[in-house]
Amino acid sequence: MLSLVVFLPLAVAVVLAVARRLPDAAARWTWLVLSAVEVVLVAAMWLRDPAPAASGLRFEERARWMPGVGSSYHVGLDGLSWPLLALTVVVFAACSVHSLTARERPRQQAALFCFLQTTCLGLFAAQDLILFFVFFDLSIVGMYFVISGWGHGDAGRSAVKFFLYTFLGSLALLLGFIGLYLAADPHTFDMVELTRAAPLEGGGAAGAAVLGAILLGLAVKTPTVPFHTWLPPAHTDAPAIGSAVLAGVLLKMGTYGFVRIAMPILPDAWRDWAWVVVAVGIVSVLYGALVALAQTDLKRMVAYTSVNHMGYVVLAVGAAGVVTGSAEQARQVALVGAVVQMVSHGLITAALFLLAGVLHDRAGTYDLARFGGLARPAPRYAALFAVAAFASLGLPGFSGFIAEFQVFTGSIATAPVTAVALLGILVTAALFLRAIQRLLTGEATGHSLGFGDLRVTELWSVAPLLLLSLLIGVFPAPLLEVVEPAAARLADLVGR
């Protein structure tokens, strides 16, 4: 069942790539139907077997793949991967709705996004390091082609920068994985077995070096300061749906790697490195927020708020490693906050990037100064943008509040210094309010004159994302029930 969910988009991608005579409309609808089927499948799986309370994986599948190097095809879901798998199908469905009006090579674009969807789903389902790495690398290749093929501005250059930078990260990751493999006895790449064995426990320098390599790889992908410089150009030049997937799903691969690989397999080294991770988190939060404040380009601004928002996740997972003098309860709360923040950021930022794409679609620019008073000519756009901005700055009632509240409750309890990062929330609030003011209020000027309001496809791609964010903000219980047991187990593993 899980393999079907993972590989169905790949099958569709192959069909779409090969069927050269397929009319454009048929290609768009094929993608839409596929993403709807994926949403239904995942929803059905969630309803059938929702909360993996006991330890162990749900929908687990394991098959021989490369026995000679201790790697197998091993997939399964637990409370950490479930929410991200669901997030992936939702974000891709939103993108497929959004591209119902795509004009530029829609068949190839649909094929590429279906391929990307498989890599994202496969990564979150993977329980084997090599399988994880395969999907990790393929997602980079897929996103490279999205940016270079459908981007605008200096897309070629941004795409190459993105590829080189994240590829460097992925090779650091691979070195770390090989280190783990060789340290385990018997040699294995299986995450479950590695978690059980924690091979470099008490390994001193070796453990620190392996974790360093893995952290480097994940930090590039997340991205955290100082490895974030690929992100703003990639986002600025990517197409709207490319940005939505990149920020909504691909960035989560980095932070997911922290909770899935780095923390449970290398608990000892993680505790030693926890303060470094916390510091990087704080710097990312503040630096991301301040740089975002200085942007005049809407898309660059949203890109930098991503650095800020992912900083909260890094902060929380770092704080969860500060074991001495902290309650397990607090570390668990921080971890729950981290996972919820991944989901929340995915939903809200995907919506914001889709909305930013509308600006470019209408006026060919993201420059805030060239718009003004959009509320009058485009009331629906203004309403959705305002909602998304408030959700992103962490207004109570939206998922972002639930996430950031838990992140800070947990983190400040374990490491009081993290309270500094609260300033980040303040700055984010200021910059979003300023963006709303510049973009939406006042008299319509510049490109706002004659600005067409949201079309049906645009409305129905953005609105569901924000609705989900609202739903999680108001009724967080169903999500928390899934995440909490897994977070508790992870807090246990790190503390052992």
């Binding site: 000679g68 190097v69 090599i130 690398d137 393929l138 290749v141 093929g149 590829f167 090779l171």
Partner: protein, 492 residues
């Protein structure tokens, strides 16, 4: 076994196939008119298929030596037999369009078969004298192949290869003589006992000499200077062959020789050859990459890229005998590399009018299948999963780390990132849309050489490229199966 020479010609059926095929191709080609040379091609293909099948059937056998311990029949020989024969088959396939009906068709096939026989025997040689003979058999046909296209560039490349090859040959023979002098034997079994306690300086000089010869064949630094010239100057057929097949023979031969040395690594023989090979590996990978950065001709770029690939291939050789995954990783990487490299050359052979990276602009729109094949092969050369070379890189990195050479793994990983840059320089234009207007391909080609030549890609080369790309993906996904097949001990 007793010393009754163990003459078992049936054990050498794949080699016999290649030799008989070479002679039959040459003879049939000599007596056939120009327009019926396809018969010679069929003979060559049949011989290669025979070699692949007999070698494949023999792969599961136990490791042993034949002919008085001069030739090893084990998993390494078996894998090289399959790889070399299959690779040569692919070379013949990608060259049909170019060679069919040409005045040198049957001779080319005969030379290809002879050189591939030499590569196989190099890999199987378990005696320094057999190695020296195999070296000559693999080299001499190559010089002819490089020069066969009779252009200025080809002549220069042939002379360069010949001079460097002759030097390497002298070094090899000198090394053999020295090792024989101190060990009292030329068989590897004799070396592993005879060299223990021998004067370290003499062993070192002898070993360096033999390794120099093998490095020339593999095209690794510092004896790589002929490779880029030959890749650019020779026909795509010859270029594809000489950057693939001799490497397989030479690298396995180097592994076998180093594995036979006494002691564990730097121990008994007193020569720190693991460090030497590791430095050579780092040198090859780095030099090849740096030189490839600024190339504009795809063939020359591929030539430098093969130099850097030798660097990665030397990783398991540097840890020969010190990690149990070293030998399977070398064989896996060789198989993956061969099919990937040939796929990239097949794409170039299919598009003879595109001689610069910039001229690949618009390929994805006009020839999506070729663009896809090129993408798969280049990404595989980078080492992106799930392709063949990724499986090879993963296992070779693991082997090198397992033996404690972590610095080399880090150097190789950094080189991998650097290599992405120049492979992208080729891929990026392929996915750019052509210049505005009706038929970009026609306009562009007319700008280049004006003549009304055939603009369509060559069908056999296209088929070879697509077959290779498919094989790259299959080998990558099925790496586990291949890995299990090539896992076994060496015979000595």
């Amino acid at each position: 076994m007793d010393a009754s020479m163990q003459k078992q010609p049936l054990e050498l059926l794949p080699e016999v196939c290649l030799l008989a095929g070479a002679l039959a191709t040459l003879l049939s080609g000599s007596f056939l008119p120009r327009q019926r040379q396809w018969v010679a091609r069929l003979v060559a293909v049949a011989a290669l298929l025979g070699a692949v099948v007999t070698a494949g059937l023999d792969l599961a056998g136990t490791a042993h030596t034949v002919y008085a311990q001069t030739y090893a029949v084990d998993v390494a020989t078996g894998a090289v037999r399959v790889v070399v024969a299959a690779a040569t088959l692919l070379v013949v396939g990608l060259g049909v369009d170019e060679l069919a009906g040409s005045h040198r068709e049957s001779e080319t096939y005969a030379l290809l078969l002879l050189s591939s026989l030499g590569a196989v025997v190099m890999a199987g040689a378990s005696d320094l004298l057999v190695l020296a003979v195999a070296y000559l058999l693999a080299s001499v046909p190559l010089y002819a192949l490089i020069g066969a296209s009779r252009t200025g560039l080809a002549a220069e490349a042939a002379v360069k290869a010949y001079l460097l090859g002759a030097l390497a040959n002298i070094l090899l023979l000198g090394g053999v003589a020295l090792l024989h002098a101190v060990a009292g034997s030329t068989s590897y079994a004799g070396l592993s006992t005879g060299l223990a306690g021998a004067p370290v300086a003499v062993v070192a000089v002898g070993l360096v000499g033999v390794l120099a010869g093998l490095l020339f064949k593999a095209g690794g630094a510092p004896l790589h200077f002929w490779v880029p010239d030959a890749a650019q100057g020779a026909d795509p057929v010859a270029a594809a062959f000489l950057t693939t097949v001799p490497k397989a023979g030479a690298l396995v031969a180097a592994y076998r020789l180093l594995d036979a040395l006494p002691g564990d690594g730097a121990g008994g023989s007193g020569v720190d050859w693991p460090l030497l090979v590791a430095v050579l590996a780092a040198l090859s990978a780095t030099l090849g990459n740096l030189a490839a950065f600024r190339q504009e001709d795809p063939l020359r770029l591929l030539g430098w890229s093969t130099v850097s690939q030798v660097g990665y291939l030397l990783l398991p050789v540097a840890v020969a005998g010190r990690s149990e995954v070293a030998l399977p990783s070398l064989l896996l990487y060789l198989a993956g590399y061969a099919v990937t490299n040939l796929g990239a050359f097949a794409v170039v052979a299919a598009l003879p009018h595109r001689r610069t990276l910039a001229s690949y602009r618009g390929l994805a729109r006009e020839r999506p299948a070729l663009a896809a094949a090129l993408t798969v092969c280049l990404l595989s050369l980078v080492g992106t999963p799930p392709t063949a070379v990724f499986a090879g890189k993963l296992t070779t990195f693991t082997a090198a780390w397992d033996a404690g050479t972590v610095w080399l793994v880090v150097v190789a990983a950094l080189n991998t990132v650097a290599s992405l840059f120049y492979y992208l320089r080729w891929l990026v234009p392929a996915y750019r849309t052509g210049p505005a207007g009706g038929h970009p391909d026609a306009d562009q080609d007319q700008d280049q050489d004006g003549g009304p030549g055939d603009r369509r890609p060559r069908p056999y080369a296209v088929a070879a490229a697509c077959a290779a790309a498919t094989a790259v993906l299959l080998l990558g996904v099925g790496a586990g199966v291949v890995d299990a097949l090539v896992d076994g001990p060496l015979a000595r």
